[in-house]
Each structure stands twice: as C-alpha cells, then as structure tokens.
C-alpha cells in the first residue's frame, strides 16, 4: 500500500476556499503532478484522498493534513517537491511522510486541535486591557459550570443552545500590540476536534467576547489552526 500524509499551510487569500473546493484543487494538483492516485473500486471510482479535518472557511492553518494513496510507490520527498511546484500560492506543502498504518482514516483518529484567535480591541476599550485582566477573564470564563453557546443544527438549520464547557481543553491569552499600535487579544484555544466530540472556535469567540463585554465584529477576528492532535499519538 502506497499511503502518504502531506502536511501543508493554508494562508492568504486561499483561506477563502471552501473544504469542497480545496478537495477539487488537490484532485487537480495531483493529476497535474502526474502522481497517479489509487482509485476506489466500484461503480463510481474516485481517488483515495481525504483531509484529516475540514477547516472552516476563512481560517488559516499551519497544520493541514491530507492523506492519499498512490497507484505506484514514490519517494515522499519527490511527492513533496512535485506538490510544491503545482499548488497555488497560499497552499504550502511542508512535509510528506509515508503512512503505513491499519487505521481506516486520519479523520477517524483526530482528537483535538489548537487554534490562535486574534481579535482587535475597539479603541474605546483598548486602555482597559492588559495581560492580567485577560488572564482573569479567561479563568472566570472557564470557571463557569456551563457555557451556553448557540449552535446551528445541521438538519433543522435552527439555532439551539449547547454547553461547550467540557469541550474546551485549555485556553490562554495575551494582549498584543501590532506595528501600528493597535491592541488586540490573542487567544490560544485547545478544543475537542474529532468525530466523537468537536467544538468550533466560533462558539468560543461568540461566547467569550460578550462575556468580556467586548463588541468586536466577527469579520475583524482572524483564526488560525496551529496543531491537530490524534488519539493514537500520531504526529505529522
């Protein structure tokens, strides 16, 4: 079995491509390299390829993983170079390793993920914030027995309350200042991320900022996925 995992960054404008569009980009990119993927058998054959975890539209990432099977054996370094040559700007392959494992899919093994959230402070509030204030707010936030977020239900499309507290594994933060002197909150989140339990950073953002009485437009907030962790201590 010629199974591999390619790790890549997603950054810049390309972060606005959706999960499905990204799949198409990779499908075409593989074809373009001439690395023939293994196709599934059956009525409607499709290439054996999949992402470890979908990434929300608009997020950048330092830890995207795609697993795939090729029809023939290749040197992972060769695959890495070929993919570097064909992928569009913003999708940057960083490593490629052979993945000989009997697990069914990486997606099934994903467990948690770390994110960095960057939220610029409104000028009116900037003076009130420093690292101590933020640390205090975070521990108050986490000290709640329940944190109720409104989550859109997949089937009904209706918003329903969910308790997200248990899905937050860790949270730290600091107040940072950019080159133009604008202050922002930088939050490190460690959240459930997998098939059994999954928490989107969106729900932390939409509960934590109001908890801090901060009125920040969602479109001013940036999110990046830093790491993806697996049940069986797989590392890429």
């Amino acid at each position: 079995m010629n199974r591999y995992v390619l790790k890549f960054y997603k950054d810049g404008y390309v972060k606005y491509t959706s999960h499905l569009d990204l799949l198409r980009i990779f499908k075409r990119s593989f074809k373009k390299t001439g690395l023939a993927l293994q196709y599934s058998q059956g009525f409607n054959p499709h290439p054996k390829m999949g992402f470890a975890q979908p990434l929300s539209l608009g997020y950048s990432s330092k830890c995207e993983l795609i697993e795939f099977e090729t029809a023939e054996n290749h040197d992972p370094a060769d695959i890495l170079q070929k993919m570097k040559d064909v992928l569009p700007e913003g999708l940057e392959p960083v490593s490629c390793v052979r993945f000989e494992s009997n697990i069914k899919s990486l997606a099934g093994e994903a467990d948690s993920a770390e994110y960095v959230v960057w939220a610029p402070l409104p000028e009116s509030a900037a003076a009130d914030w420093n690292n101590d204030v933020l640390t205090g707010k975070i521990s108050d936030y986490l000290a709640q027995t329940e944190i109720t977020a409104m989550k859109r239900q997949k089937k009904t499309k209706k918003l329903a309350p969910v308790d997200i507290r248990k899905m937050i594994r860790g949270m730290q933060g600091m107040v940072v200042t950019d080159v133009e002197g604008r202050k922002a909150l930088m939050l490190n989140l460690h959240l459930d991320c997998g098939s059994t339990s999954n928490l989107s950073p969106e729900l932390v953002i939409s509960t934590f900022l109001p908890f801090c009485s901060l009125d920040i437009e969602r479109y001013d907030v940036e999110v990046e996925r830093k790491t993806l962790k697996f049940v069986k201590n797989l590392q890429f």
């Binding site: 810049g12 404008y13 390309v14 606005y16 491509t17 959706s18 499905l20 569009d21 198409r24 980009i25 499908k27 075409r28 990119s29 593989f30 074809k31 373009k32 001439g34 196709y39 009525f43 539209l57 608009g58 064909v86 992928l87 569009p88 700007e89 913003g90 437009e217 969602r218 479109y219 001013d220």
Partner: protein, 618 residues
C-alpha cells in the same frame, strides 16, 4: 484602511468568497510597473459563469503572451458582495492585483448575451466610472478606455453611448494590436483622437463616437453617417483566415470555486456551413476554419496535463461536422480512457457513427440524448432551413431506445416566421410518436422513460436572414405555451418553456439602435442586473424602464422591417452580404431550402474577403 484590508473583511461576510480572491492555478502574475498597458477583462456575470467561458481564457492568454501587456480578470460580484462594496464605497477591482478598474488602461467587456447589458452598466458603476462615453471624455479626470467585443457586438448600437470602442469579430489579432498601439501612442504623447485614427484602420474596430445616426419621423433610421472622413464605413468584421497557429490556452486558469463547466475545452473549428436561417452564430462566424487533428490532439493533451482536469470537451458550432471527426474520435476516446478523463461531445448530429461514439463514452451512465428539430413540421423546418427530416429523427431515436437510452430531450423554437398552430401540433406529434416508439421497442411496461420537450421563444437576430422579421407578442407566446401545455399532456412527456419577458427584452437589444441606450440606463437605474438569473430578474424594473425612457417596445420586437429599411447594424459588415440574407429570407417564405455549403458555394459573400476552405468539399 486600504482596499485589500477592507476586502479581507468583506470576504468574511459574503457567500462563496473564493469568487473574489484570484491566485488560481495558471493565473498570470506580472508586475504592473513592467508593462505598457493594463487590460481588465470583464465578464458581466458571476465568476462561476465567466470562468466557464473559453473566449476569456483565449484572450487572457493572447494578451498576457505579450510581454508589455498585463491582462487581469473581473467578474460581476454576487448581490451580497455588491451591497457591501457599495456600503463600504469599495470600487470594483481586478482579481489578479486587486487594482480598481479606474486605474486600468482598458476596461473590456465581453458581450455574450443581451441580457447581460444591465450588468455591464452595473459593473461600470461599481468601478466608479461615468457610464456614458461622452461624460468620461468630457471629464478632466482620465478614465480607462471602455471597450467591448463578442457576438453581441455585431449589433453594437444599444451600447454605443457607453462604450468607447467595439471589437467586431475574431479578437486574437486585433485586440492585442490595439492595446499595444495604445501603449505606443501614449508613450509618444498622442491624443485620444490620433489613437482612434490609427486604431480604426484595423478591421473590426468600431468607435461609435466617430458616427452619427439620424431618424425619420416614423422612428426608422434615416441615415448612418460618419463624422470624420477617415472613419471606415462600414466597419468590416475582423476575420482570421487560419486559426491553426492562433494562441490557444493549454494552461487555462483552473477556477477555485466550481464553475458551471469545470473542464478542459478545445475549439475544433470556428463557423458553420449548415445555414439555419434563425441562427446568428451560423452567420457571424463564417467561414468554417478548422484546426488540424494533430493540433487538436496536442492541445487537448497539453491542456489536461496542465490543469489536472478530469473532463474534456470539444467546442464548435456542430461537433460532428469536423471534417475528420471519425479519425479524431478514434484517437481521442482511447487517449481519454488512458488518462482517466471523461469526454463530452456537445451538439452531435446523431448518425450511426455518433451512436458508436456515444456508446463508447457513456458506457455505464447514459446521460440522455438531446435532439433539436427546432420546428414541429417539415414545412417549418424547411422555412428555417434546418436540414433534418422526421425520418432522420425517428430512425436515430429508435436506435437510441434499442441501445438503452431512457431520456430523450427535444428542443424547439416557437414564434418562428410563418408558424401556425399546425406547426405546434407537429411538436406534440413528434413527442407522441417517440413515446409510441418506446412502447414498440420496450413494451408497455418498458420501465423508466421520459421525453422532455423544451421550447424557447424565437428572437430575431441581427445579421441573419430573419433580421427583418416580427417577434410574437408576449400574449401570443403565452397562448402558444398554453396550447402546447394542453397538447403535451401525455404520459412520459415533460414540457418546459422559457420566460416570455426576457425574450422580449432580449429582442429589443438584439435589433436595437442607439436610442435603446436610454432604456438600458433606465433599467439599470431601476435596479435591473444579472437579468439571466431568475432570482435576480426584475420584470417590473424593466416595465418601468420602458415608460421612463419612452421606448416603444413593439417598434423593436413586433414590427416587421422592410427590406430597404436602414438597419442599425448596417454600420457593421459581418462578411455575409445583405443580398444573400434577403435571398435567404425570400427562400424561407417559399419554403425552399438551401444546401449546406460544403456541397457547393451558396454565395453568402464571405469569400469576397477570405478563402472558404470547406466550400464544396462534400
């Protein structure tokens, strides 16, 4: 906050932000400082539509192949994006470098269908350009040259007030030549007029401000006249005699957001020899010019390798009329199999060979067969010169049913010249006969089977033998739709028809004159845009626009023109002579057909200008 930061915010607030980001595989990056002229290629519809259009990919490559030209792309934003852009006062920008259109040298629109005209105005407005060419010229600020081309430019007049320069005909040679000329003229410090004077020496360059139109009391055109003695009259369509060596994109841009047609495309030939009398494409792309089989194979394979696409399609007006079609298929089919690529062959003439081919390429999934008899009786098919007989249709459908196709689609037009209800009855009869054929072949319990009958409303087009004809009124179309709905109430038959309002507006612009620009402007001001999308089409905005602009719709749609009337597009010479169009119209009234010109020249006049390779080859 600069535009790119603002764009970044907006992208988080809109649907399908991938439409607005650029940077796709094979998109071109140049340093704007290194070029002499910057061209914004604008498609007046959404990204998904525009990115499926081969013409844009061809001209994008043609222009960018020149070192000193940088061509970038622009599409109409979705309504959500547009609302935010207006709210934030953000101008329309190019995808490649996010440059506001006002800073470009050329803003060029492709005119593929009349119902995109309001979107042309809307995009100019979003780009913060004055809409009227005269206002831009009178302004102290220097604006880009706004140009347009494409099939609808063959009657440019409804847009004449807005566009500085039209490109008529094949764009691959004249467009880069004019853009380069512009760069040179600017370097030499020449005026706009001096540049125009040089540019209009080339075939296919129509500059509306060099001409004036006067009208008779009855509203018809009295005279088309030129305002400068050096202006060409008429303007001859640019025709490239040999397309073999033209630049053709083997590394087209691969869209991020899935386009309507997400596949590799190779143009096999331009033009058509059939001579259907309603068909504008069949007239304005003459003569037939083919690429060699070797070239097509090479372009196809290079394209697939450079894009990673998994579907290939051949493009022309009539796929199987390619002179070496069988040989080409015999080479392409195995090549596509080898590459895991599916092959699609649109507008096939269904004969025995076509069946063999379809059987091979649709082994498992038989997607459905489409026939376009266009009219319900032999008489009317003779009028429109659609060389298909009922016997042909039934014979091939019988074969299709035997080979296991269960989905037959039929296309017809209604409102054709000389049409009577008998011709409509003929449509129902064809559908009924096909259902009977299915019973005969597959038995009463033959399982799933469907015949879809789609009718569209006839729109008389400029530069065709039917350019003088009357269009049915909306009421008449509605009556015919009801009549057909009644007649087609049959088991296994589905009946579809098109909206009447759009075909009437389309007809106004298809044969409109310069006065129609006021109608267009009014429609745009009433919020009309993206008119070919049912969810965005605002008929009430259009109705009000007719009132606002005092344009008499029936003058343009229902009125039958006299043969000697001066037509707005007489200013353009498509290459097909008016004499021939008149002759064809008369033959239509006599129900006389004209043979395919591969059986011998029919005298359309195109060979006055260029050699006609296919003449008499059958």
């Amino acid at each position: 906050m600069n535009y790119t930061e603002k764009l970044n915010q907006l992208l988080k607030r809109v649907e399908k932000p991938g439409r607005y980001i650029g940077g796709e595989i094979n998109s071109v990056k140049k340093n704007p400082a290194d070029v002499d002229a910057r061209f914004a290629f604008c498609f007046p519809d959404l990204y998904e539509i525009g990115m499926s259009y081969l013409g844009m990919q061809i001209l994008y490559k043609t222009l960018n192949d020149r070192e000193k030209i940088y061509c970038e792309r622009v599409f109409a934003p979705g309504v959500d994006m547009e609302a935010l852009m207006r709210e934030e006062n953000m101008p329309l920008m190019t995808l490649e470098t996010k440059t506001p259109l006002g800073e470009m040298d050329f803003v060029g629109f492709t005119l593929q269908y009349e119902m995109s005209y309001t979107t042309v105005l809307n995009m100019m407005d979003l780009a913060q350009l004055p809409l009227k060419a005269a206002d831009r010229a009178a302004s102290e600020k220097e604006y880009p040259l706004v140009v347009a081309g494409g099939p609808c430019a063959l009657n440019p007049e409804p847009l004449a007030d807005f566009i500085d320069m039209f490109f008529i005909g094949d764009g691959e040679v004249v467009l880069p030549a004019v853009v380069e000329l512009y760069g040179e003229c600017r370097k030499k410090g020449m005026s706009r007029e001096e540049f125009y004077r040089e540019a209009c020496k080339m075939d296919g360059v129509y500059i509306p401000s060099l001409y004036d139109v006067t009208y008779n009391e009855d509203g018809t055109i009295k005279e088309l006249c030129k305002l400068y003695d050096w202006a060409p009259m008429p303007v001859r369509r640019a025709i490239i005699e040999n397309i073999e060596e033209l630049p053709f994109p083997t590394n087209p841009i691969v869209p991020f957001v899935e386009a309507v047609h997400d596949r590799s495309v190779v143009e096999t030939f331009r033009g058509c020899t059939r001579g259907c009398r309603f068909c504008q494409a069949g007239m304005i792309y003459r003569p037939v010019r083919e690429r060699s089989r070797e070239k097509i194979m090479q372009l196809a394979m290079d394209n697939l390798h450079n894009t990673g696409n998994d579907e290939l399609s051949l493009l022309s007006l009539s796929t199987s009329d390619y002179s070496q079609f069988e040989e080409l298929c015999n080479e392409l089919i195995p090549a596509c199999k080898r590459e895991n690529v599916s092959l699609s062959l649109p507008s096939l003439r269904i004969d025995k060979f076509a069946f063999d081919v379809l059987n091979k390429i649709q082994e498992y999934r038989k997607s459905g067969l489409t026939y376009a008899p266009e009219a319900g009786t032999q008489r009317l098919r003779d009028v429109i010169n659609k060389g298909v007989t009922e016997a042909d249709i039934y014979k091939s459908i019988e074969q299709a049913l035997e080979l296991g196709w269960t989905n037959i689609k039929l296309y017809f037009m209604i409102g054709l010249p000389t049409e009577t209800d008998e011709d409509l009855d003929g449509i129902a009869e064809i559908a009924r006969n096909i259902v009977d054929l299915n019973y005969k072949i597959n038995g009463r319990k033959g399982g799933r089977f469907n015949v879809t009958v789609s009718v569209s409303n006839f729109v008389p087009k400029a530069n065709t033998p039917f350019q003088w004809e009357s269009q049915n009124t909306a009421e008449e179309f509605a009556r015919k739709h009801n009549y057909l709905t009644d007649k087609l109430r049959m088991k296994h038959v589905t009946f579809n028809y098109h909206d009447n309002a759009t075909s009437s507006f389309e007809a106004v612009f298809a044969r409109g004159d310069r006065r129609c620009s006021e109608l267009l402007l009014a429609a745009f001001r009433n919020g009309c845009k993206l008119d070919s999308w049912t969810e965005h089409f605002k008929p009430e905005g259009w109705e009000k626009a007719f009132a606002d602009s005092r344009i008499n719709r029936s003058f343009y749609t229902e009125r039958k023109r006299e043969f000697d009337e001066v037509l707005p597009w007489d200013i353009i010479d498509s290459g097909v002579s008016k004499k021939f169009l008149k002759l064809e119209a008369e033959r239509a009234y006599n129900e006389t057909t004209t043979h395919d010109c591969r059986h011998g020249c029919v005298g359309c006049g195109i060979n006055r200008y260029v050699k006609c390779e296919m003449e008499g080859t059958l």
